[in-house]
């Protein structure tokens, strides 16, 4: 790791570090693909291969130089309990990320980074609309060390002894001391993704295209190609998910944090402190029901704000698994919560006017640790919100509900998804809201002063 000569050598302050020298090249390589795509095949046929190559080369060189300048001006260091990152040549930007706000840290290794032994470190901070400060790229060793250090600083309990030394944490931290929790067999993952609507409709889609081509002579190649492109976006989602969730492993590290690793082409490893878990969602998709499989979701405050497509699903806890596995896992993540004994009560029978079919599957319940809500006729879902993580409680009553004497209670979390007790009896809703507020206060109170 290059430690640049620090411009300001304040006493006790740690020198500013640079990212790995290979990172501008990696950034450049990433943009070459974009450049080629933007130029498109049409340009290639117009200008000829040689010129095309020259244009690409020039653009790529420009991007690399640009990234090089970016690399030269980017630096990071830990000051006290803050991570400071400065970047930008013309618009200098200094960001101080308070580590108490740290929600989760993710180590991401895209394919190119895997080949070069580098990794990207992403910090999830609450309040930031997007992932704050992706440090791309560091060596795996440095990234893991920095991650360990940041997490140690973030968790107040273990902070003092490790933080002050300023020494880089022992590098190969993880594997020796971690306690593996589970590993999702890849076979199960593939089968589970075959049992999705997209995968089931894939043969239908292909059959449609084939018959169209055979029957209607006017269907040109372009027509087929555009249809296929349009379908690919939807139909390839199971494939993408298999690639993403490949070799899904969960473990507990010595500090009691959750370590999630997954991915085939781009491996990711996330560390989530357990007290940052905002809520847990359980889903039983219709097509998985024959196999009694379910899906667990973990809500962390940092991710919900990210409107991205795939990143939003990066908060999975269990891509696919049996009930017993999920039960053990939930017990690990939310101690004291047994998935098998979560009792919920349905809304009153007059809510049938609003939910003619799904009434049976609606429910809400207060257990000692979490607020449980259930819903969904085809895809059954359940959400568990620990009282300690409640942000606010809302009672909402629409006109139809008022007519029926019903109300909906929301338990808001920072994870973005609220626990939602739909269409409860009004008096019960008030009582529920009061209980939630009370329990949230009690759960908050003794935990920290």
């Amino acid at each position: 790791m290059t430690t640049s000569p620090p411009p300001q050598q304040v006493t006790g302050e740690e020198p500013r570090k640079r990212l790995h020298p290979l990172s501008p090249i990696l950034h450049g390589a990433k943009s070459i693909a974009v450049v080629v795509a933007a130029l498109s095949w049409q340009t290639l046929s117009q200008v000829g291969l040689e010129r095309f190559a020259i244009v690409v080369l020039v653009l790529a060189l420009g991007v690399v130089i640009f990234s090089l300048v970016g690399w030269l001006t980017t630096g990071y260091h830990v000051v006290g309990r803050e991570l400071r990152i400065s970047d930008g040549l013309i618009w200098r930007r200094n960001r101080a990320i308070p580590l108490e706000r740290l929600q989760a840290v993710e180590l991401r290794r895209p394919l190119l980074a895997q080949l070069t032994g580098l990794a990207e470190l992403r910090l999830e901070v609450v309040g930031g609309g997007k992932t704050e400060a992706p440090l791309a790229y560091l060596t795996v060793r440095d990234a893991a060390g920095l991650r360990e250090r940041l997490l140690a600083l973030a968790g107040r309990s273990q902070a003092p002894e490790r933080a002050d030394g300023g020494a880089p944490a022992a590098a190969p931290v993880a594997p020796t001391l971690e306690r593996p929790l589970l590993r999702v067999p890849n076979r199960q993952l593939v089968i589970s993704q075959l049992l999705t609507p997209q995968a089931i409709f894939l043969p239908l889609g292909i059959a449609f295209v084939v018959t169209q081509t055979l029957l209607e002579a006017q269907w040109t190649f372009i027509g087929i190609a555009s249809t296929m492109t349009a379908m690919a976006g939807v139909l390839l989602q199971p494939v993408r998910r298999v690639l993403q969730d490949w070799d899904f492993r969960l473990a507990r590290d010595p500090g009691g944090r959750l370590v999630v690793r997954y991915g085939l082409l781009e491996t990711r490893s996330q560390v989530v402190p357990l007290n940052r878990v905002q809520s847990v969602g359980v889903t039983w998709p219709l097509l998985w029901r024959a196999r009694k499989w379910l899906h667990l979701r973990l809500d962390i405050a940092g991710y919900a704000g990210e409107p991205g497509r795939d990143s939003k699903r990066s908060d999975r806890l269990l891509p696919v698994g049996e009930f017993a596995t999920a039960r053990g896992l939930v017990w690990d993540v939310l101690p004291g919560v047994d998935l098998a004994t979560l009792a919920t009560t349905p809304p009153p029978a007059r809510a049938r006017w609003v939910h003619p079919f799904a009434l049976r599957y609606l429910g809400a319940g207060l257990t000692p640790e979490v607020f449980v809500t259930r819903w969904g006729l085809f895809t059954r879902e359940m959400s568990l919100v620990p009282y300690a993580r409640l942000q606010s409680v809302r009672v909402v009553q629409g006109p139809v509900q008022r007519w029926l004497g019903l109300a909906t209670v929301y338990a808001d979390t920072a994870g973005g998804r609220s626990g939602e007790a739909r269409d409860r009896d009004l008096a019960e809703a008030w009582a529920l809201a009061e209980q939630l507020a009370l329990r949230a206060r009690l759960a908050r109170g003794p935990a920290r002063s």
């Binding site: 405050a301 942000q391 994870g415 009582a431 507020a437 920290r448």
Partner: protein, 167 residues
């Protein structure tokens, strides 16, 4: 702790002492509505002038009827706003058609906004909004006199610092 009893006959939100928002908010909202109605009517009128057709007139009538209905609702809706400061949390209720009650613990407060638009300022009103880490929380109290708004803001901030936890 004021722990209201849960009773089926008098549900607890009714036992809380709600503080109303200033009735001047009605005037503010009505003026804002009148401005909009005038803009709409002007637009429709210009349309009528250039392309005479009875539909323009019908549109104008509809705008006026809608505005009158909304104004009647506004008067009642402003009376429906209320807030209460309890020991540990702020309660806000509002809405007429869709009734909402929010319970926001002070400990969860991230920041407090005090805003006042030009019209609100002219009438000496301000809006206080409490933000938590959850985007879904809505605890907004409009139509407060500036003194009350700053008192509420200071109190919320003080209580928030006292019990600060955030997440």
């Amino acid at each position: 702790m004021t722990q209201p009893p849960v009773d089926a006959l008098t549900p607890w939100p009714d036992t809380v002492v709600w503080r109303p928002v200033s009735p001047k908010l009605i005037t503010v909202e009505l003026i804002a509505r009148v401005v909009w109605v005038v803009v709409f009517l002007a637009g429709l009128g210009i349309g009528w002038y250039f392309a005479p057709h009875w539909a323009w007139g019908a549109g104008m009538a509809a705008v006026v009827v809608y505005a009158i209905w909304r104004s009647v609702v506004t008067v009642r809706a402003v009376h429906a706003w209320g807030y209460a400061e309890r020991d540990q949390d702020l309660l806000v209720k509002h809405g007429l058609l869709v009734r909402r009650l929010s319970i926001v613990p002070y400990a969860r407060m991230q920041f407090v906004d005090v805003t006042a638009g030009p019209l609100e300022r002219a009438f000496g009103l301000a809006t206080v909004q409490l933000h938590t880490a959850s985007a879904a929380s809505d605890a907004k109290v409009p139509g407060l006199p500036p003194a009350e708004a700053s008192r509420l803001r200071d109190r919320l901030t003080a209580l928030g610092e006292d019990r600060a936890e955030g997440l």
